[in-house]
């Protein structure tokens, strides 16, 4: 009844006159229908990429990290670049599901499920890189702190690299739990509609016997809220900790206090870009334009222009501090290795600036924010730019170290390093294709929850209510309650 005071300026979150049953039908239809030709083509390409990645990893394990052109000077190359990039991609999902839930942002319901799935797959891809980067990967269990038979040998709890182990594994676990607990009611919806035997059985197992009891909903809501409260600082902490991998070192170009907030902003920036890329395709292919509306896209573009500008300010601050700090090594890293267009990697710095800082400014224009083609194009540009940000930070800082005699002339990745990166794309899209085929890409129960409040037909009714005076309205609601 407080809706009297809800502004009509806010457009509906669900287009068209939908009933609860219609919502179920629309979202479950792609799951019940056989996979389309486009789905098979995309899926097969993803699997081929995945296999190529697996072969690249096989080469690396057999012959060592030299297969990736890594050496003493360039110890971190594409692998850690990709690691930081993929972790960053993951952040939008948790941000949408956790921070926006705490801030009571209704628009998250249309996009949260797909974004959370994206988070999980992105973190799975990210986790691959540090693990295979270890070289002797069969020793990977050494990062686990447990009383062991190797003497009193413990991990170094003071090392940011160990903090990473905890941060990424916690992030993955919590995101997975959050995502899956939200899926339970929707899986039950599919189970109860299922006509085929295998589907009844599969979704029966997956939905854990959910019934929709009020007490269960009450606990479910409480669980979601607390998980959101836990995930909110977690989102900020994960990329902060990833940035500590760099910021706590004494490498010129990495040793900066601005890294934690700057990395978090960059993560949200690239994550939202990836959400846009995926959802623009998903809504079109699965015909979900009524649920992922142009309003959703516009809101996310606003987040992109905001975080892109934060990242831009961070770049300028870095430059200013390296000049103001008057440390000649820092100065060299920023003004010679990066800013100088004629230095070996100068091109990558300017590519990063162009993609991340300049191009998103187009979203100051409403027309551009609501243009699907522009949004799709920009989302890809932003992801390229954010990849180059990590590349610039890593490679331009270490290819010329303190000893000029060990300067690398020019670092080029090998086919196997590129192949590993493509392989994670294969993993990511294979997972996403399977997800979009077998799971609801939109949270059905959450859409139903906001349908009455933010559906189009309801908004239309509100116009009549708004036309009434406060006294009339008060009189009416008083009667309705007795």
């Amino acid at each position: 009844m407080a809706s009297k005071y809800e502004s009509l300026v806010r457009p509906p979150l669900v287009d068209g006159t939908k009933t609860y049953h219609q919502v179920t039908e629309d979202i479950v239809r792609p799951i019940e229908a056989p996979p389309t030709r486009a789905w098979w083509i995309g899926f097969i390409i993803s699997v081929i990429l995945l296999l190529f990645g697996a072969y690249s990893i096989y080469r690396e394990v057999t012959y060592g990290v030299g297969q990736w052109n890594l050496n003493k000077t360039i110890g971190w190359g594409w692998d850690i670049t990709n690691f930081v990039w993929w972790v960053g991609i993951g952040h939008a999902g948790t941000l949408i599901s956790a921070i926006l839930l705490l801030f009571r942002q209704g628009w998250r319901t249309g996009v949260n499920r797909a974004a959370e799935a994206m988070t999980i797959f992105a973190v799975m891809c990210a986790g691959q890189f540090p693990i295979w980067h270890m070289g002797r990967v069969w020793m990977a269990f050494f990062v686990m702190p447990y009383p062991n038979t190797r003497g009193p040998l413990w991990v170094n709890f003071n090392s940011p690299l160990l903090w990473d182990v905890f941060a990424i594994s916690t992030y993955f676990t919590v995101s997975l739990l959050f995502w899956y607990s939200g899926l339970l009611p929707d899986l039950a919806t599919i189970r109860d509609r299922a006509k085929l035997k295998w589907r009844k059985h599969m979704y029966g197992v997956l939905s854990f016997g959910w019934t929709g009891s009020t007490k269960h909903w009450q606990r479910h809501e409480s669980l979601s809220l607390v998980l959101a409260g836990l995930s909110t600082p977690l989102v900020l902490s994960v990329h902060t900790i990833v940035s500590f991998d760099f910021a706590t070192s004494v490498i010129p170009g990495w040793h900066t206090t601005i890294f934690p907030p700057y990395f978090v902003a960059g993560a949200i920036f690239s994550g939202f870009a990836m959400v846009q890329t995926l959802l623009l395709v998903t809504r079109k292919v699965l015909k979900l334009e009524d649920y992922i509306t142009i309003e959703h896209i516009e809101v996310m573009n606003k987040v992109i222009v905001l975080t892109g500008s934060i990242v831009g300010i961070a770049y300028l601050t870095e430059l200013f501090i390296s000049w103001y700090g008057a440390n000649k090594y820092e100065n060299w890293a920023f003004f010679q290795n990066r800013l100088n267009l004629f230095s070996p990697y100068g091109w990558s710095y300017w590519l990063m600036m162009g993609c991340n800082v300049l191009s998103p400014q187009i979203f100051w224009f409403r027309k551009m924010r609501r243009n699907i083609v522009v949004t799709f194009f920009m989302s890809v540009i932003v992801n390229i730019g954010m990849w180059f940000e990590r590349f610039v930070i890593i490679v331009t800082s270490i290819y010329r170290d303190y000893i000029p005699s060990s300067w690398a002339t020019y670092y080029r990745p090998t086919i196997w390093e590129v192949g590993f990166y493509l392989g994670t794309f294969g993993l990511f899209f294979t997972c996403y294709f399977l997800f979009s085929k077998f799971f609801p890409v939109i949270a059905i129960a959450e859409i139903k929850h906001i349908l009455k409040r933010s559906g189009e037909s309801y908004k239309a009714k509100m116009v009549d209510v708004e036309a009434k005076t406060v006294e009339e309205y008060y009189h009416e609601t008083q009667h309705a309650h007795h």
Binding site: T19, N156, W163, S169, T189, H201, V226
Partner: protein, 197 residues
């Protein structure tokens, strides 16, 4: 878990359901449960359900996580293996903040989800009786338990008066059992015992 008798009413609108829940409680019928396709805020209060203490449990799990992380790291780095790492102090509290924080979140989240599953009896292969399959789609299903004194016809009439669209009577087990949703199996099969004299 014996088989009990229930009167089941299906509602179309949540507003009607809300009023019906209030009426049922006033009339003194034994409200078994209400099944809805989405969370309805305030319905738990209307039904007279106690607020959940899941969040308190989460807090306890979190504190436990912090304690475990902090105490084990300090024991390891000061007693079990005091190693000089770059001249840093053995008790390097600020450096342990990230791990302690992450472990707190991990324990709280995992503990809460497990507790949630335990309290709601949710697990793979758990099967329950579903009074109406459309309760996860678009129907709001109110279930009233029949006791010895309950007049079924009266309850039916009452539910229909409260706005229920469809009403039926079911015999069901209230608990859960391990089973598959594509196969009918109850917890207790009716067995005929053969007694040999």
């Amino acid at each position: 878990m014996a088989v009990k008798k229930f009167v089941v009413g299906c509602f179309e609108e949540e507003d009607v359901l809300f009023n019906a829940v209030k009426k049922v409680r006033k009339a003194g019928y034994k409200l078994h449960d209400v099944y809805t396709p989405m969370p309805i805020h305030g319905l738990d209060t209307a039904m007279g359900l106690r607020d959940t203490s899941l969040h308190t449990a989460g807090f306890v799990y979190g504190i436990t996580g912090t304690t475990i992380a902090l105490s084990s790291i300090s024991w390891i780095f000061t007693t079990d293996w005091p190693l000089d790492i770059g001249g840093k102090p053995h008790l390097a509290l600020p450096a342990w903040v990230p791990i302690c924080f992450e472990f707190t979140v991990l324990c709280a989240a995992v503990g809460m989800v497990l507790t949630f599953c335990y309290l709601c009896q949710l697990a793979p292969f758990v099967k329950k009786h579903h009074f109406d399959l459309r309760a996860t789609d678009d129907k709001f299903v109110m279930v009233i338990e029949c006791t010895d004194k309950t007049n079924v016809e009266e309850v039916k009439a009452f539910l229909s008066g409260a706005g229920a669209q469809e009403i039926n009577v079911q015999h069901a087990e209230t608990g859960w059992w391990l089973g598959r949703y594509d196969k009918e199996r109850k917890l207790f099969e009716e067995k005929t015992e053969t007694v040999t004299a």
